[in-house]
Structure formats: structure tokens, C-alpha cells
């Protein structure tokens, strides 16, 4: 793998303190960027409770709406999760848009990559069937475009509050006193270990 992935890891670790919050749900009329992605969280989604409103919109500063949409859809092909809302996959488009804004070469690579996806899908990647989409993504495996998008998925899709809620990962525990009194050893579906192997917790 090229150096890209590690710079990406390092950038993410160092990056401007981006709160792992929901994407900004800016009112649509104020969005002036190059592109806009919009969607609605399903009322049944547990994430709906996290959002100030179920409707979301995301401004792209460098990429066009169609390009952002294609990248969002590519994320869904690469990392398909039933029930994970598009709002999470939109974070991928947002982060790639930010990368494109920082570096014209990245912008060009993403533009060409989306064009290649469309071509491989026989015209429009976004409207192609699931099977056709998968085929198009597979045909680009190993290209710098594929590697960049796939690598970005790892941090964009799995390091945000919506993903945490969806996958059942609570994040920080220190502020809640750890798990000493909150189920660190509450598993009951297997026989308990012996007291010598696993002594009782310390009680003050």
C-alpha cells in the first residue's frame, strides 16, 4: 500500500479537532457551495433522536453535487451496512470534498475517478443497479482513486457519533466512572470463571 494511508491516519489523528458530531444541518437556502447533498433520516432510526431534525443537508465546497453523490454511493458499495443512514455515508463525501479543497491533484483524481465509475457503470454510477455498482467499484480496485476513497471510509464512516450509536459503541467511559459498576463482567451466557482465575472486584 502506498504512503497515502498512513498520512491519512496521521492527518486524522492530528487533524483539526472535529467534534464527532452530526453533519451540519444547515438550512438549505444558506448553502452556497459547489454542491449540496441532502437526505432524511428514517423516523425509525435510532439516530433520529441524536439529530436536531431528521432532514439533513451537506454543503460541498469543491466537488459538484453529482460527484459527492457518487462518492457517497461508492462508500455504500465498499462498506455496506444495513440500516446505516446515508447521513453517515455523506461524511465520506464531506471529508473527500475537504481533501479536494486542500489539494488540486486530489480534486482531479476524484473527478476522474467518478467519471471512471460512471463509465464502468455504463453511463451513471449513481442510478446503476447494485450489481452494476459493485462491478464498477471492483473494476477500479487498486487505483489511487479507489485506495483514497476506501482509506477515507475507515475514518469517515466509523469515527463519528452516529456510527457509534448505530454499532453500539459507547465511546468514552471515564466521564461515567468506567465500567467497574456498569457491566464490565455482566456476561451470563457462559459459565463463570473460577475465583482463582478471576478474583472478585475490589470493594472499598
Amino acid at each position: 500500500m502506498d504512503f497515502n494511508r498512513v498520512t491519512l491516519l496521521a492527518d486524522h489523528a492530528h487533524g483539526p479537532a472535529q467534534p464527532r458530531s452530526l453533519i451540519p444541518l444547515t438550512r438549505r437556502e444558506f448553502l452556497k457551495g459547489a454542491g449540496i447533498l441532502t437526505g432524511t433520516l428514517a423516523a425509525s432510526s435510532i439516530l433520529a433522536a441524536l439529530a436536531p431534525s431528521r432532514a439533513w443537508a451537506l454543503e460541498l465546497k469543491t466537488l459538484a453535487s453529482a460527484q459527492g453523490d457518487a462518492l457517497l454511493q461508492m462508500g455504500k458499495v465498499l462498506y455496506p451496512h444495513k440500516g446505516l443512514p446515508d447521513a453517515v455515508y455523506a461524511l465520506l463525501a464531506k471529508d473527500l470534498d475537504a481533501a479536494a479543497g486542500k489539494d488540486p491533484k486530489t480534486a482531479q483524481m476524484l473527478t476522474e475517478g467518478v467519471a471512471a465509475l460512471d463509465k464502468a457503470a455504463g453511463g451513471s454510477f449513481v442510478t446503476a443497479s447494485d450489481a452494476k455498482k459493485l462491478e464498477a467499484v471492483k473494476s477500479l480496485e487498486g487505483t489511487p482513486f479507489f485506495n483514497t476513497v476506501r482509506g477515507q471510509c475507515i475514518t469517515s464512516l466509523y469515527d463519528n457519533d452516529m456510527a457509534f450509536a448505530h454499532f453500539g459503541y459507547p465511546g468514552p467511559s471515564w466521564d461515567k466512572g468506567g465500567y467497574i459498576n456498569r457491566g464490565f463482567n455482566d456476561l451470563k451466557w457462559l459459565p463463570a470463571p473460577s475465583a482463582s482465575a478471576s478474583p472478585a472486584p475490589y470493594k472499598a
Binding site: F3, V6, H12, Y158, W174, I180, P193
Partner: protein, 522 residues
């Protein structure tokens, strides 16, 4: 805290404040020796540690540019990140899991016991387990290791319960919550473990031993320690007689400083330690300091590693509680009938959601990958860690084509798995899967090695100066007042997590060093 003059040539300069350097500093200060402790990273504290994997990684990890080569999987998956170690006061003792196991007697005689393994540069250590035992005991007391010194074991979390049930069903005998330098009850002004679950991100309760809040403040109390954070060592200097005279470092303001020294001890972990010796090449030592043997940077070891994650029908929530919550030691013995020499340990491990995505299957995508993420709350995990073979070609060198932020050649880490490593890894994967299948796993996954945390051997100790860089005290064969004080000293790797042995060697080295200083022999 003491402040010593830059031109005070009576001080001992220690480079690196982790398990080796931080411990050595305290031990020397307790004996009245003046120490300047140079640490490249910043000074954090339990209060500033972050329960967030990526943010903590940015805060603690060593992210200076490095390159990789060789056929090891890490070079493919993390080409610029060969090691997951730390640049912060306390070094990698902020990040370590706490497993504190003694080396086995036979591991210190690897060449004799394993024989002449083709393609390996095995050597017996120039010391024995008997030599180390009293120092191991002191280290365990210092660190508060559970199941030693009448300290009870830690309570097992859910991840351990799965391991334990599987181990018993699979026929393993020895499975418990391990020997951990994590307080199972309050001890030495530190509280007991709150089962927070972010051991790798710095222990916010301070229950896990780290030099950051044990050795270093204890050393400061003596008035003999001058700790200098954000002081990155650039070069060790020497005089015409060949003795080292001081260290040039870049300070927090970006200025170069020259600290004179009576003795220099290098404890920068096994990539930076040999790199600094190589960067310190001079007309007198054209191949680098202490490198007449040509062994500086060679025999780089990183332990045979791999992980097994398993999905169950019922919830596990492995992220709750201590990251390394238990161990199976049955496979640690040397039993060549398994198709390899040396042994391995099986230790629980968990990752949060963000790092599970990054490390489960680097480069992986599609439904096979997302299946495991979808089942995150029903995952159990274990790490497999065993002895790897030293090889002269597995090596840290200077990559002069790439420069770091100080303008210095970056280290390149070259590693090829020995066939013994591959055979052991495959055996360990199968053993891990067997444990989880016995506990009822629906599906298991063989996760490839993470960037190395157990970096060892690049300045190894040897009886014969031709075979290694330092003697049994860590004193370099070539330069009497230059010491290696970290895991670089390891002659071979053993199967056990190395921190306890690094601390043990540092305690032992401090005694020798103070004695030599007293005798004025260095």
C-alpha cells in the same frame, strides 16, 4: 525539580523517559546521581489523556516520518507506521496494556536450546534467569504486578469470560487474568482499576503503571532529576579518546542545545536508539557509535503477532474494562513438535469501533468486512504474541532519501518473517480459533499484525563484542560511558510482553552504573 547547567559534565544524560529510561532515571536519582532526562515528546498527564482512539493516537503516538521495507504485512498495510509507540513523557508506558511476564529460563538460552536455526542469528543472553530474578522481583513490586507480592489478580471482564470458557473447553489448563501492572486494589498512592477500557489511550485513573506518574515524580522528589520534555536528541558527541561527551538536542523552541555528560544512556525504543547511534557517526566512528561489530540496527525483532476476533450469538461488549484482561499460557513453552521453536502467549485484546475499522483487516472491504463491524457488540478478541527469530537482515537503517522535521535521515525498518515466525503464527491463529469455537463462536477472523509495539534487539547484548552492541549491563562494548537502556538490548525476544524485562534490566543497570561512577571507572 533540579536544573542542571548545559556545561555540567558530571550528569548522566538519559534519552527517553519510557520503561527503560524513566525507570533508570529514578533508580539513579535515588542513589544520588544527577540525571538529565531528555524526552522528545510533550508532558501529558492522566487528566489530559483522551478516551478517544484517534485523538489519543494524535496526542501520544510517535508519528515522525519512518519508512518500511521487506515482506512483512505491516510494510504493506502501514508503510509509514512500522511501530505503534509513543512520543510523550512516560514513552510507551502510557500506551502499554500492562502485561508483566518474566522471560522463561530457556528463552535466555535460545541458541543453545533451539539450536542453529537457518536464517536466524540466535544467541544466548550473556546472563541467566537466576541473575535476573531478584531484579524481576523488585520490578514487580515497583510496578505493582498482580499475582506477585501478595497482590490479587484483576477481576475478569466479559472478553476474559469468553476466553476462559473457550480455553477450558479446548483443553487448556492455564488461563487467568494474568500478571498485570494494573492495581487490583489501591497501592502506592494509586487507585484500583475502574475498568475504563482505554488502556491503550493512557490510563486516566492512574491504576496502570506508567513512568509518567510513578518513576518520574519519584525521581523529581530527590532533587536530582532535570526532566526536559520536547527535547529531541539529534546526535551523541564524543572526544578524541572515543568517550561520549554529551548530547545535542532540539528544544521546545526549535533551538539546538548541547548538554554535556559524564555518561549517556540511550532509551529511545528499538527504532530510535540504533538510529541515534547511526546518526552520531563521526570520522572516528564512521559506521556510527558503538558499531565496530556492525550490529547496530540489526536483529530487529517485533514479536510474532496476530489477532483472532470472533462473533458470538450473544453480546460480549469486549470494550468494557481492561484491554488485556486475561491470558492463556499453555502455548508459551518450547515444543518443537508443533513445527516451530519458541512459544507464544494468548492474551485478550479489544479495540474500540474506530480502531477496529482501521485494524481488523487493513485494506479489506465489502460484506465480509462489514459483517464483523455489524456485530461489534458481539465480538471477542485476543492477541497472539510469541518469540520471533532474530535475523541480521531485519534491520533499522538510515534512509537518507527521506528527511524528518529535524532534517535528519529517517529510519527505515526492514523486516522479513522467518519461516519459524510464519509457522508459529499459523499455529497460533488455529489455536485462537479453537478457543473461540469451543466457546460457541459463529465466525472467526484472523487479523494481521498491527504496527509493532514490541520493538526489540537492535543493539543487542552479547558476551562476545563481535556479536552484539552491549554487554550484560547494557554498557556498549566500544564506548565505556555509553549505555543502551531499553528493549534494544534484548539478545532474543522471548514470548512475553517485554516491559517487565526492560524495567528489570534498567534497575539492574542502575546498580552497575552507580557502582562504576563511584569507582570512577567511567
Amino acid at each position: 525539580m533540579a536544573k542542571f547547567e548545559l556545561n555540567d559534565d558530571s550528569v548522566v544524560v538519559i534519552i527517553g523517559s519510557g520503561a527503560g529510561g524513566g525507570t533508570l532515571a529514578n533508580e539513579l536519582c535515588q542513589k544520588g546521581v544527577k540525571v538529565v532526562l531528555l524526552e522528545a515528546g510533550k508532558h501529558e498527564s492522566p487528566a489530559t489523556f483522551i478516551n478517544d482512539e484517534w485523538k489519543s493516537f494524535g496526542q501520544l503516538a510517535w508519528l515522525d516520518k519512518r519508512t518500511t521495507s521487506g515482506t512483512w504485512r505491516v510494510a504493506k498495510d502501514f508503510s509509514g507506521l512500522p511501530a505503534w509507540i509513543c512520543k510523550t513523557v512516560g514513552g510507551t508506558t502510557t500506551h502499554w496494556a500492562g502485561a508483566s511476564l518474566r522471560l522463561h529460563e530457556h528463552e535466555l538460552r535460545a541458541r543453545t536450546v533451539y539450536g542453529d536455526i537457518k536464517g536466524a542469528s540466535l544467541l544466548d543472553w550473556p546472563l541467566t534467569l537466576k541473575d535476573l530474578e531478584p531484579f524481576y522481583s523488585r520490578a514487580e513490586d515497583k510496578m505493582g504486578v498482580t499475582r506477585t507480592h501478595d497482590i490479587p489478580g484483576l477481576p475478569g471482564n466479559n472478553n476474559f469470560k469468553v476466553m476462559y470458557a473457550g480455553a477450558k473447553k479446548a483443553g487448556y489448563k492455564d488461563c487467568n487474568t494474568g500478571h498485570m501492572a494494573i492495581n487490583s486494589r489501591p497501592r502506592k498512592d494509586r487507585g484500583s482499576c475502574l475498568q475504563i477500557g482505554f488502556c491503550f489511550q493512557g490510563c486516566k485513573s492512574g491504576a496502570k503503571w506508567s513512568t509518567l506518574y510513578t518513576e518520574i515524580p519519584a525521581a523529581e522528589k530527590t532533587g536530582k532529576l532535570d526532566l526536559r520534555p520536547q527535547a529531541h536528541a539529534l546526535k551523541i558527541e564524543h572526544n578524541d579518546a572515543g568517550k561520549v561527551t554529551g548530547v545535542v538536542y532540539r528544544d521546545a523552541d526549535g533551538k539546538d542545545q548541547r548538554q554535556k555528560a559524564r555518561v549517556v544512556c540511550v532509551a529511545g525504543n528499538s527504532i530510535e536508539t540504533p538510529r541515534l547511534l547511526l546518526l552520531s557517526a563521526s570520522p572516528k566512528y564512521p559506521d556510527g557509535l558503538a558499531n565496530s561489530s556492525g550490529q547496530v540496527g540489526r536483529n530487529y525483532m517485533r514479536h510474532m503477532t496476530g489477532s483472532v476476533y470472533a462473533v458470538f450469538n450473544e453480546p460480549v461488549h469486549m470494550y468494557r474494562g481492561t484491554t488485556m484482561a486475561g491470558i492463556i499460557t499453555d502455548e508459551a513453552a518450547n515444543n518443537p513438535k508443533r513445527g516451530f521453536v519458541g512459544g507464544y502467549e494468548m492474551e485478550t485484546l479489544s479495540l474500540g469501533l474506530p480502531f477496529m475499522a482501521a485494524f481488523l483487516d487493513p485494506g479489506g472491504w465489502g460484506p465480509d468486512f462489514t459483517y464483523f463491524m455489524d456485530n461489534y457488540t458481539r465480538l471477542a478478541g485476543m492477541w497472539l504474541v510469541g518469540e520471533d527469530m532474530p535475523r541480521p537482515t531485519n534491520r533499522v537503517t538510515l534512509n537518507s532519501a527521506e528527511k524528518d522535521q529535524y532534517g535528519l535521515a529517517v529510519p527505515n525498518v526492514h523486516f522479513d518473517d522467518h519461516e519459524n515466525d510464519v509457522a508459529m503464527r499459523n499455529h497460533a491463529y488455529a489455536a485462537g480459533e479453537k478457543v473461540y469455537q469451543a466457546a460457541g463462536a459463529v465466525r472467526t477472523f484472523r487479523t494481521p499484525p498491527y504496527p509493532s509495539t514490541h520493538n526489540l534487539g537492535t543493539c543487542r547484548m552479547s558476551a562476545n563484542p563481535r556479536d552484539g552492541v552491549c554487554n550484560k549491563w547494557g554498557q556498549t562494548h566500544d564506548v565505556a560511558n555509553l549505555f543502551i537502556s531499553d528493549g534494544s538490548q534484548f539478545t532474543t525476544g522471548g514470548a512475553e510482553n517485554p516491559t517487565l524485562t526492560i524495567v528489570t534490566l534498567a534497575i539492574r543497570q542502575a546498580g552497575y552504573l552507580a557502582e562504576q561512577l563511584g569507582k570512577r571507572s567511567i
